[in-house]
Symmetry: C2
Subunit: 484 residues, 2 copies
């Protein structure tokens, strides 16, 4: 069987986007190999002689010879002395016969990216993959004016940070290049333990602090180690969206528990779904900004102890408090070792830093360390070392004070502007801490439509109702002020 | 009810490790709060007057007043004019009655860490958590002479790297501090695409390259997005241990398929467990170092296409090839878009860098981007920018050449030494690439005992049989030579 091989190849190698950076013989090899693999050149078909091919493709004969030799060496073609070069039958016997019919051919246009088409690829993704990528949450959370969750990173002390990092790069300590198997760089763990003990009344020794790549990774680790597939996790309703995503992705069944003015408020009916995990933001509920009352804290600690459940305390944004006395952490009130305390430097320093931490009960430390290493592989010890210095030398406290002032001013300005524009008609959430506030709306309001309208003016606020899992949705607009 | 409160407190606050960094009134507050939360001071019990307490504890009255005020403000105590200060009943009604009996009290000594005890905490960990932390794999993989998987990072160009990083820190571009939602820093994705196209014959456009935090994170993402809980994953038997861990942790059922001299060799019986995912190391099987044959490659590509299965091609250590022509990637031979190509800079540069990549089929790119952001949160854009320069300016190629020479010499030395010491009695695995080789042992050998013996001499080799999932175990010693 002779085929118009050269024409096929000419079309291919004359394409301007075809392996332009490769030498000619590699380009020819790629074209031939592609034709064989895609069955444009079927098993057993004969290739032209190297002399003919060189002539037809206007290449030197050596170029063609070199391509043939590589194909021969890799087993794509066989050479029979005197009779020429043939495409080898490399498909195993058991598959060769029915091959042509049975294999789904790539659809035309697969290589053309198209957002709306990409969303229809359900045949390809798993069920959990489908739900993980259905809503492009990232799109909703771009750094934009008023987007909740954003902080302002332009005030970051670039030069100082560079100096602290360079100290370690200059020292060139190879052990800081490794993954690190000890739960993190010890001086950083010590600095965090000291900070949490004083500022958040966390009951913590340095051994209990494990450095992770951030809150998502902390949640991933906790949900793997402390819960099994289909276990129940209680979440606040409304709830922080990233945490929901992490728990769901790891097979947990989420049970929403309503949030009132004292925080998460479990009732008798919730006890039908006893939790294995309870995800909480007690210092400053996300997104409603409620501070959990002492009575509710003790209730949840008791519930956790009785159910052998674990509380994941996400103490996000606790560093940014503008008024009032900071409330102690839930972890610090727990005398049954049922709370894991989660923190991050994403907002205080910058998100791309990818350093967070978990405070783990003492008897779980070894298991968490093992899984942290085996499963996630930590790293970034150089950055951890710089961060430890940043805290120990007092720069962290200075940076916090500075950002607190900046954000505090923006918060006041936003509050004034809103009251000024809308008068006594609006109610704002408590905003003594954090980087966002909520404009409360009446039940009949369509907050989703309002957020969409705002988006048309490039104002990125989020509808409060979208944070709910249940149908008992309050209406409002969640407005970040850190980035304006 | 009056209790010897002051004695209790004295014991506590005179402990040298009790909140030593706090001012006196905070220490007293912490001691009182602790006593209330742990029920050493029961509901309703009366505290001494501030005057008495100040006298007994040898503190100023203001210090005691300040502690009392904070407890009062937080609701831990109530004050009745004329009759004194009492511990408040903050436990909700529904729980208060049965509280004392039902709550498991913390076992004595919980706060004392002890390795052997920590391993017994099964009541606390989930089933998957138990299996994830049962074997302290990390311990086996410490950077030690001859440990497989280790590379030598002391040759890393610290100063050059520092210079490249500083360029971006000096520029102080705040957008490089964010998570990054686009799948990674574009010039880095471009540099990787160019490298893979030329060096590994990967069929790739820049859009298909997504930057992850390393191979564990790539595997985590792929197993979530492409497979569901209890789906079957084929793994090579023997298999890379980190991959097994990642797939299992995400609920996949592992089906071991034997590896012969041509790579993974699925038989008819394996088809009873049709795969959803197939994890492969075709260029250089881990740990046996076999190169997968062309016929086997085509078989697996066909199998994947027919079963709508996905192949995860882990092209680890492909950068380190000392002899022979590099084999093209499996991904480059796939015309059905069924292969995801996984790479990392962990070995080539350094592990703590935490930068790897996946090449994703075009129609999955958008879903992967969304999940990468929502689920893992990327970041480290500053480091990505420096790495892009490192590659583009040719330093990467130089570093690779240098390390290839160093490792090549160590490989030869190890081979010579082994042959010299053990003569013709030993067989070594092919070692044309990578950073380890396998000393093949007869079936009756006890490779586990031999590895343990070596460990006593601080030589960290691993028994080949420990890499197997099935009982069909070959015996041998896996020896790394990169770090010696």
């Amino acid at each position: 069987m002779k085929l118009p091989v050269s024409e096929l190849l000419l079309t291919e190698i004359s394409r301007t986007d075809f392996h332009t950076k490769l030498p000619q013989h590699r380009r020819l090899y790629e074209a031939l190999r592609g034709a064989i693999l895609s069955r444009q050149l079927p098993f057993g078909s004969q290739l032209p002689s190297t002399r003919d091919m060189a002539q037809e493709l206007k290449l030197s004969r050596n170029t063609v010879l070199s391509a043939f030799e590589q194909l021969l060496a890799e087993g794509y073609v066989t050479a029979q002395t005197g009779s020429g070069t043939f495409v080898a039958d490399t498909l195993p016997d058991q598959l060769a016969q029915s091959a042509a019919e049975n294999i789904p051919q790539p659809e035309s246009g697969t290589r053309v990216l198209n957002n709306s088409e990409a969303n229809k690829t359900s045949r390809k993704l798993s069920a959990r993959g489908e739900s993980m990528s259905a809503v492009a949450g990232g799109k909703l959370f771009e750094v934009q004016p008023f987007a909740p969750g954003d902080a302002d990173y332009s005030a970051f002390p670039f030069k100082l940070w560079q100096r602290l990092q360079n100290k370690y790069w200059r020292a060139g300590r190879p052990e800081l290049l490794d993954y690190g198997q000890t739960g993190g760089y010890l001086p950083l763990r010590q600095a965090i333990a000291d900070y949490l003990r004083v500022s958040r009344s966390v009951r913590v020794t340095v051994e209990q602090v494990l450095i992770t790549a951030g809150t998502q990774q902390s949640l991933d680790l906790c949900s793997h180690l402390l819960a099994d597939h289909q276990d129940t996790a209680w979440v606040e309703d409304p709830c922080y969206w990233g945490a929901r995503r992490a728990l769901e992705a790891n097979g947990l069944k989420l049970h929403p528990v309503p949030v009132d003015n004292e925080g998460m408020n479990p009732g008798a009916e919730d006890m039908d779904k006893p939790p294995r995990l309870i995800y909480l933001t007690p210092s400053h509920q996300y997104p409603k900004s409620v501070v959990m009352s002492l009575a509710r804290r003790r209730l949840l600690l008791e519930l956790a102890a009785r159910n052998n459940a674990w509380i994941l305390e996400d103490d996000y944004d606790s560093e940014f408090r503008y008024a009032g006395r900071p409330l102690a952490s839930l972890q610090g009130m727990d005398y049954h070792d049922r709370v894991l305390y989660l923190g991050t430097f994403a907002k205080v320093l910058y998100p791309g830093l990818k350093i967070g931490y978990i405070v783990v009960p003492p008897d779980l430390v070894e298991s968490f360390k093992t899984a942290l290493y085996d499963f996630q592989r930590p790293g970034q010890m150089m950055v951890q070392a710089a961060l430890a210095d940043f805290i120990e030398l007092g720069y962290f406290a200075t940076h916090l004070r500075k950002m607190r002032l900046i954000y505090g001013r923006r918060r006041l300005l936003l509050q004034k502007t809103l009251y000024g524009a809308l008068g006594g008609n609006i109610k704002l959430s408590p905003a003594e801490a954090g980087l966002h506030l909520v404009i409360q709306l009446p039940p009949q309001a369509d907050d989703i439509a309002m957020a969409a309208m705002a988006a048309e003016h490039d104002i990125s606020v989020r509808a409060l109702s979208t944070y709910y899992l249940s149908d008992q949705r309050e209406k409002g607009l969640v407005v970040g002020y850190a980035y304006v």
